[in-house]
């Protein structure tokens, strides 16, 4: 073996010590639920699949109609979220009847997309790198709405990989493509109003004839959801999806008892957000940047010493 046993041992000791130190490094902090967080509550037992929310979303966001092709068996409406659709209604057949599912950005409490976005193009309102809503009264910190700043986005599409709900979509056929997703109609907010409508006004909630999807502060919506379950427990699956899943989401779901949320298309997630897991794992070795610096210093020193030793050796040996 070309590496001596001694070298190997040295290396092992160092590695072992390093691991011990690294293991003690603090995990990345938990992201708290912001007190002013706003969101939506979708009650699948109320939705009748009229899809007014789909139309209203298109209108409110100036999105074109989808090209007609027989995707997923639907010819006159989008079959899924895509580069021109930020909100879509899907159906699950349960015992001969349809149960409807509204799909759009979940505005997670600790979003994976925000965690992975290199330049913070996707960011929680007011917590990004810069204000991307200057023309709409500026960003308001604390709402927790996940906004998209196309000026910083490089189109790497890592957000699509990271999002457990597969929400961000990409404009594949454009030369100047963007990432497209629901932004809670932040642009429809009326700063003159009080309450949550001052920061956002989702068109889907406004138009829904059944009140199946409603808008408000996350804390209020959570309380409302709990109230509904308590008032009519036979009507609901006792779990509120989004309360804790993946660190919690600001858009929450109620479902009828016969269906699981997985059947509605919502993934089963642990309480720890993916962002927390990934960042903790990735950051552990770095020790807040100490490790690279220390490593660099050590290596530069060693290499330099090796070079000097070699030059000295050459000098002795002559030309």
């Amino acid at each position: 073996m070309s590496i001596s046993r001694r070298d190997l041992l040295k290396g092992a000791v160092v590695a072992g010590a390093a691991t011990a130190v690294i293991g003690e490094a603090e995990a990345r902090e938990e992201v708290p639920d912001r007190p002013d967080a706003v969101g939506m509550l979708f009650d699948a037992t109320l939705c009748v699949g009229c899809r007014a929310c789909q139309t209203a979303c298109k209108k409110a966001n100036d999105l074109p109609t989808d090209t007609v092709d027989a995707n997923g068996g639907v010819y006159d409406a989008p079959a899924d979220l895509n580069g021109t659709t930020k909100n879509v209604i899907k159906a699950v057949v349960d015992d001969g009847k349809n149960v409807y599912m509204k799909q759009q950005c979940m505005h997670c409490v600790d979003p994976s997309c925000v965690s992975v976005c290199m330049m913070g193009a996707l960011h929680k309102e007011g917590e990004g790198k810069r204000d991307c809503r200057t023309d709409q009264g500026g960003e308001v910190k604390g709402t927790g709405i996940v906004l998209y700043d196309k000026g910083l986005c490089v189109g790497c599409r890592y957000c699509q990989i990271g999002c457990a709900f597969n929400v961000p979509k990409f404009e594949w056929t454009k030369a100047l493509p963007r990432i497209v997703k629901c932004e809670l109609c932040r642009h429809r907010a009326d700063p003159k109003k009080t309450g949550p409508l001052a920061v956002a006004n989702p068109a889907c909630c406004e138009v829904c004839p059944r009140g199946a999807v409603i808008y408000g502060k996350r804390a209020d919506l959570l309380a409302q959801a709990k109230q509904r379950i308590a008032a009519d427990s036979k009507r609901y699956n006792p779990h509120i999806y989004g309360e804790t899943e993946g660190g919690g989401t600001q858009v929450m779901y109620l479902a009828p008892p016969a269906l699981t949320f997985k059947q509605l298309g919502l993934p089963e997630l642990p309480e720890e957000s993916s962002a927390h897991f990934s960042e903790t794992m990735s950051h552990r070795p770095y020790l807040h940047g100490l490790t690279p610096i220390a490593l660099y210093a050590a290596m530069a020193f060693v290499i330099n010493r090796n070079k000097k030793a070699e030059e000295a050796g050459h000098g002795e040996e002559g030309k």
Binding site: N71, A79, K90, V207
Partner: protein
Amino acid sequence: MDNLGSQVIAVQETDKGVSRRDFIKVCSAAAAAVGMPAWAGEKMAETVGKKKPSVVWLHFQECTGCTESLLRTSHPDAGTLILDLVSVDYHETLFAAAGKQIEEALEDAKKAGGYVLVVEGAIPRKEDGIYCIVGGKKATDSLVECAERAAAVICIGSCASWGGVPSAKPNPTDAVGAPEILKAKGIKKPIVTLPGCPANPYNLLGTVLQFATFGTLPKLDDLGRPTFAYGRVIHEDCPRRPHFDNGRFAQAYGDEGHRNGWCLYKLGCKGPQTHANCSLLSFCEVPGAWPIGIGHPCIGCTEQGIVFNVPINQNLPIDKPTAPMAYPAVNPEHGVVAASPVAVGLGSAIVGALAGAGFVASKKLSAADSEKGQKE
């Protein structure tokens, strides 16, 4: 009083100077108006010409709206109906007679039997039914007696069909529809219910004229409603349906959407669960003379569980989504990426080429080595 029903049409014709041809025209028009085939007009003229069917019309807890509604028909008009097509042998609203004379007419009709009994209004059962007494007779008794001698029973209007307004909570008189009374008394006659508030008079005309012509009743559903009129819900035939399908709802009375005639679902329209044909068969031949037509959400006046029960501004789920409501699945197919044969071929060729080249190079090196080994 002469029983008009006993008169033969031919005599009447000569008396009144109505030609047979005109009479057939009248019957054809009536037949067409209620959706019977063209040849039915002649059959009707033939049948009715022989003997006009007898109709006995009872009023109980009602507003007389259904009768009024009948009076406003024009194809056939009420006059033609009661003078030429049927023999109305008892009708409290339409008869000039009153008191002892009209009650005698009823007794005569009952004695003859075989009439079509039309019931309008609910029947109270509280305290032995004393809350509706007509001509000294309780409604329940009157109904039962007449029904026993009838060929068929037609309940016109929601009140007669299932109780209607009088039966709204708290239902102080314990009002119920005629079918319930008859069932309790074990009277087995064909019963047709024509709910509505008021019922569309053409539903009545269609039923009565079919019976008059062919002696049969239309196909009924499990609530006794003719399926030709009550087989579909308003939502399926609503003229505002395109607005629903496109998510255009009136948000408030008088707003832009309301003024533009958009869907009234958000304002509480019960159309999705209300079986009726109001959008297909105009009341009084005035198109648009129905609630949704004038901009008020349907209140579900034919349905027992809905009208006078569910608040007008509260909407209901849509039981059977109908076309064009097609929905994608939770994970819909996105069009299988047809891995073009060329792409697959190229990809495989490259992988193969790399592996092959590696193998060849390895062999070459071994060969070179063994050569060298031989040399040394």
